[in-house]
Subunit: 380 residues, 2 copies
């Protein structure tokens, strides 16, 4: 099937403009998809904030990002942004929703064209109720094979992609480990610190605040400006330098990672990843080629001496081959063709229905912690 | 036009079941409308919580009220409850929305039948954005003539109604004033206290907590168990007795009241209202007949000696004639006929468009306080 000329609506998140000037992964992905499809000849309309920049058509109901002006009522503009898409749905051949689960509840009563929802995350188990309810109305894409709910059918895995040209390849391995992300136990900053200390290697941390108590108790006491350095949040050149000059990125999560953009950013610079063997990490890191998959802290410590001998070219090559924006666009294009051919998802199988664990009717779902896995990766 | 047999969907709020066992005014009104229309021969489906009780059809996506089980995710079930209505919209001839503004954003992209939204309140000026956006899609009813946004067209005023038989008429005027409601400066508990003290009359207060600092500073210091008595929250018989044995209900609001259910409850008992001349109060209270409309505290104090000579039968009669459930159903029935004949609202006039004061595009709306009016009714 020819995608050229297909009228595509891309619904972006509106916490930030698209593309976002700094943080804003959902807006960035939606922008990359919209822009990639525009370059491939689709007739793309991006639903995004009014201060977004896109070489195709933009539709906006909110002037700036909801995080940019605290006076804006998040509920009101979330609903109007979504409502506007469905009000214009008949103008499109296909909708790609990057704006979480609420648009699914609008799709239930809409005669909109085929719709594909990229599941960027499950913020609460209860939002599964919306995914289940709309399973016959929207196709779903996961951002890794690991990040799939067993009660849902998925049309495709559409890994996130980056532009490798935005990252400088450095051939020589550096001498420090680095941690990049946000301060939350599930990101395992405390494990990165423990590994660096036990391996006798310097650690540089660049992260945004999230869980303050965690930072205060598990991270801050170790920061000494020498063995453990904290650089604050880093963007663009600083990020490129921090990643590119490192021996490895430490990504020892304590809960399954959905995708993990920092890993492919590091690899684009040639820097391998020391990662936990859980979630999406085994799909991104090729063990003993672009980093190491570790079962616990001791395993990771044992792998540190091996990092410098990995071929940094292989790291870069893996990103170019599998995790570039163009590769992401390829995957979305394949999913779009399938969605346009099928029009609507088939009804879920009996097996999928059996897997729908959360019965919010008989027993309202409480927030269920996903247990850390493997067991020995714990907040020490 | 004959309404018998019309397939009506009533979308209730889901904080509580319909009807609610205690507090829950929106659920109560939606239930009363659904039940009244069912009694008049319409084919009614009530969208409400699973523990609701209705002699027609009920559709539920949530087992109990969102306020009854804190484990339920309010956003998820609000969206699914609304989405379910629009998913079934083709099964109905008419939709009456009592679930605030969000369903309007669903209506934008829906080919649902004629829809009538009862505006129970404007919780934030920004929700006007949704009312404006959907003005060509849903008809609007206000719950008083006073509670209308100048930028919107309204199909009708559908005053709330009560069942007068639920309230005992008492012929003899009591000797105390009473205040019923919630502790918030806009409800004017402090003014009721001042009026009672200056008039030398006892005050009995029954209210639910809301603004704690206000209660602590402006109300609690005056409670002495004698001249100013606080009874907590009262329901059913206790409420009936408190209202029925009073000389008058004091309702000196400092911001325009939208409707004011307690006033018609008092009047149903034969008890007149000492009310502020603002908002909906002049539509409900007939000055010098079912109470007094007061310009300020001094005016109200001067009216206290006149209260006992008002004809308490006139108070009851006004409720039976104008504010009964049956009268409310009459008003809704008229509005339904209009909506079914017109199908869609006409486009707003230039004049209405000019009145749309809140321009959230050029200048995001900050929450604007409605100034107290008259000026001398202030939080002392």
């Amino acid at each position: 099937m020819e995608l050229r000329g297909v009228r595509l609506a891309v619904l972006a998140a509106i916490s930030w403009p698209a593309p976002p000037p700094g943080y804003g992964p959902w807006e960035q992905i939606a922008f990359n998809v919209a822009d990639g499809m525009r370059r491939r000849g689709l007739d793309v309309t991006l639903f995004a904030t009014g201060n977004s920049h896109f070489d195709g058509k933009i539709v906006s109901v909110v002037p700036v990002g909801l995080n940019e002006d605290p006076a804006l009522n998040v509920e009101v503009f979330t609903a109007l942004h979504t409502g506007e898409l469905f009000a214009r749905a008949h103008e499109f051949d296909l909708i790609n929703n990057h704006f979480d689960w609420k648009p699914l509840t609008y799709a239930l009563g809409s005669s909109a064209p085929p719709m594909l929802t990229t599941v960027h995350g499950f913020s609460s188990p209860q939002i599964l109720a919306a995914y289940y309810a709309a399973a016959a109305r929207s196709f779903y894409c996961s951002i890794s094979n690991a990040d799939r709910d067993p009660g849902l059918d998925y049309l495709a895995t559409t890994y996130n992609g980056i532009d490798p040209e935005q990252f400088t390849f450095r051939e020589r391995a550096g001498e420090y480990l680095c941690f990049l992300g946000r301060f939350h136990p599930e990101k395992g900053t405390h494990l990165a610190i423990e590994i660096a200390k036990r391996a006798g290697v310097r650690l540089k941390i660049a992260a945004i605040p999230q869980d303050e108590a965690y930072f205060r108790e598990a991270v801050a006491p170790h920061i000494d400006g020498d063995r453990v350095q904290f650089l604050g949040a880093v963007e663009r050149e600083a990020r490129d330098e921090l990643l590119g000059n490192a021996l490895a990125l430490v990504h020892m999560t304590t809960r399954p990672e959905r995708f993990g953009l920092t890993m492919i950013e590091a690899m684009a610079c040639g820097t391998p990843v020391l990662g936990a063997r859980m979630g999406s990490i085994p799909e991104i890191v090729v063990d003993a080629v672009t980093g190491y998959l570790c079962d616990d802290v001791a395993d990771a410590v044992a792998k540190v001496p091996l990092l410098a001998s990995l071929d940094r070219r292989a790291c870069r090559a893996r990103v170019v081959a599998e995790f570039s924006v163009e590769r992401m666009i390829d995957r979305y294009a394949e999913a779009y063709v399938k969605a346009l051919e099928l029009r609507l998802p088939p009804p879920p199988s009996e097996e999928k229905l059996r897997e729908r664990r959360h019965d919010w009717w008989d027993r309202p779902m409480a927030y269920t912690e996903i247990p850390p896995k493997p067991e020995n990766l714990r907040f020490s």
